[in-house]
């Protein structure tokens, strides 16, 4: 089922949590709502679920007005950040809850409920834990119970609020992969909220980048990473170095490189801001003097790429560069060594407030 969000605005007293937000989620899609805390992403998710009322705007499920329906009729599976499992019920009873509270004429028989619950528990690989209480499970197991519980009502839409936020890095990675394959199997229209850009980029079909109560950009992970639409998007998606620069003759001089400037900015001229990804910075040690003189301040070679922090001779904050291990070996850098730095690629924005 597709979800259509039209001009949703939400105010809490004087505070605007969502400002005229519109978004369409296609059937079977897995969409990430990505943004810093306070950007409005969780509020949007809660409005779609019906846990929060929008001040204005509409939400359509499969073309029908969802706001007119009660939560019960919306058939939304909601997975909470802190699981929100019923602490006094066993895993089995937790998952069965949504079936047990159905009106009598729609409620399946006891045996059928049990069968369906066990099938779901097998799906989330927790069939051996049916008789345990939530407190007896690990964080990752609890999250899977929460997911099974949400799936038990056969939802038309699955909503997940920071589903992996409270888990440690390793479990998070496993669950992420597992959720992706589960989604591919079930083809359930799903939205999840996260503040972790890596999670959004790795897991989602489409990423919705939110900031300051509005949607900044919507696109495929590759799209938003390679072509950030705004200065905020550039800073939020991945590590980035920021340089002040000037536009002259349609080009910006950024850290020793001449970067072509997008058309709308060309005529403007004057001061601008450039963003350069750490892996788009080149380091030269040889006798050739290209780029800006800089000094190596810090080296970290653990992991597949080496991180190098440098200070430019003409001042400014530290700059971060990334090179492959082989390249690092060839460069043979030492702390305190003078080098030259050049931007291979950069994205230039008008001198905005950001």
């Amino acid at each position: 089922m597709d979800i259509e969000i039209n001009n949703i605005t939400k105010r809490f007293g004087g505070f605007v949590a969502l400002n005229d937000v519109s978004l369409t989620v296609h059937p079977g899609e897995l969409v990430a709502l990505l943004g810093p805390s306070g950007s409005g992403k969780t509020t949007l998710l809660r409005i779609i679920a019906g846990l929060e009322q929008a001040t204005s705007g509409t939400v359509l499920f499969g073309g029908e007005n969802a706001l007119a329906r009660s939560i019960r009729q919306r058939r939304v599976g909601f997975v909470f950040q802190h699981y929100a499992l019923f602490r006094h019920m066993t895993v089995l009873e937790n998952v069965a809850f949504g079936l047990r509270v159905k009106p009598r004429d729609q409620r399946p028989k006891d045996g059928e409920i049990r069968e369906r619950v066990m099938r779901l528990l097998t799906l989330v690989q927790l069939d051996h834990f049916a008789k345990r209480y939530p407190a007896q499970l690990s964080g990752g197991q609890r999250q899977r119970v929460a997911l099974a519980r949400a799936l038990a009502i056969e939802p038309a839409v699955l909503l997940l609020d920071e589903p992996f936020g409270a888990l440690d890095a390793k479990v998070r990675k496993e669950l992420r992969r597992w959720l992706r394959s589960l989604h591919d199997e079930m083809q359930l229209t799903s939205l999840f909220v996260t503040h972790d850009q890596e999670e959004a980029l790795e897991l989602a079909d489409r990423v919705v980048l939110m900031n300051n109560s509005v949607i900044e950009q919507v696109g495929s992970p590759q799209d938003v990473y390679d072509h950030p639409a705004s200065s905020f998007a550039y800073q939020f998606l991945g590590n980035v170095n920021r340089f002040d620069c000037r536009i002259e003759d349609g080009k910006a001089h950024v850290c020793g490189g001449d970067i072509a400037v997008p058309p709308p900015l060309v005529n403007g001229g004057g001061p601008a801001i450039a963003y350069v990804r750490p892996h788009d910075l080149e380091i030269f040690t040889g006798p050739v003097m290209v780029g800006e003189p800089a000094v190596v301040r810090y080296l970290s070679a653990a992991g597949p790429v080496a991180k190098i922090e440098l200070s430019l001779d003409h001042g400014g904050s530290l700059v971060e560069a990334e090179v492959g291990r082989a390249e690092l070996h060839a460069l043979d850098l030492k702390i305190g060594q003078p080098v030259f730095l050049r931007a291979r690629k950069a994205r230039v924005f008008a001198n905005a407030v950001h």
Binding site: L51, R72, F78, H82, H88, F97, V101, Y133, A135, A150
Partner: protein
């Protein structure tokens, strides 16, 4: 090696007082409790049985004593359930919602703890007494509140209102809204959510509050004394009747009735311990 060992010794010294001091403090605490709590409690039973078991039970062979017991049970039977229901509603509202006047409501719930019970009784006389605000209207309609059972119930409810709410508010605040939201998102109605999720989560705290509320409701003296009028066989509760018997030098009967109240306290204490034990157990798995 030497340094950690030295630090260890130092830690032990810092954490542990010398033996003589520990013994002295323990003895002081136990002695104090015996003097202030255990001895008087024993004295109640001692005095009650001073003239033998026969005299003890004969004390209850009095219509006025029996009516005092009955009245106490009646008042508790009304005040405790009413306070339980309103306590749950009040705590629910305070713990789970934000609204204007919330802090005022919290203060109001605490008020009976800080107001002298005598004042509580006087307030009801002022409002419902013959010369009170509603007095003329009540007299004209032949409704008696002060010096009658309704007044006793009202005064008791006032004094015992905070017990349930005070127990539940921190508990519900700690548990938050998420489980209720989960229940609703799974299709439960408000009523189903309350019975299946909220109530099971607070049941031990609630029981604990009800128990304390009941103990106080049956034992309340001050507020009830003001609105009672001390009509024998009609408006005397057990604590009030103990005083009357005592003032009449009927010590055996006074202490016999008092022993019932003391037993109520002991039973409450035991139940409280059991609940604490269950409470601890259930929070360990839930």
């Amino acid at each position: 090696m030497a340094a950690p060992a030295a630090a260890d010794a130092k830690n032990r010294l810092a954490a542990q007082e010398p033996l003589w001091l520990r013994l002295l403090l323990t003895a002081l605490a136990i002695g104090f409790l015996i003097l202030i709590v255990a001895l008087p409690l024993a004295a109640v039973f001692g005095e009650a049985f001073r003239q033998g078991v026969g005299a003890y039970f004969a004390s209850f062979d009095d219509v006025d004593v029996l009516s005092a017991i009955e009245l106490t049970l009646l008042v508790a039977a009304i005040a405790v359930p009413v306070n339980t229901i309103f306590g749950v509603i009040g705590s629910w509202a305070i713990a789970k919602f934000e609204f204007v006047g919330k802090s005022l409501l919290v203060t109001l719930i605490d008020l009976p703890f800080s107001v002298s019970p005598v004042v509580a009784g006087l307030v009801y006389v002022l409002v419902f007494g013959v010369h009170g605000w509603f007095g003329p209207w009540l007299v004209a309609n032949d409704i008696q509140i002060i010096f009658a059972v309704p007044g006793l119930v009202l005064a008791t409810m006032f004094v015992t209102f905070p017990f349930v709410a005070r127990e539940l508010i921190p508990l519900m605040e700690e548990q938050g809204n998420e489980e209720e939201e989960a229940a609703i998102s799974l299709g439960a109605s408000g009523w189903q959510t309350f019975w299946r999720v909220t109530l099971p989560n607070i049941k031990w705290g609630l029981l604990y509050g009800v128990l304390l509320c009941n103990a106080r409701a049956m034992g309340e003296f001050g507020a009830v004394s003001v609105v009672s009028g001390h009509i024998r066989g009609e408006t005397n509760t057990m604590p009030l009747y103990v005083e009357i018997l005592y003032n009449e030098y009927n010590f055996v009967a006074a202490f016999a009735v008092a022993s019932l109240l003391a037993m109520l306290a002991l039973v409450t204490l035991v139940l409280k311990k059991i609940i604490e034990w269950r409470f601890g157990g259930s929070s360990a798995i839930g």
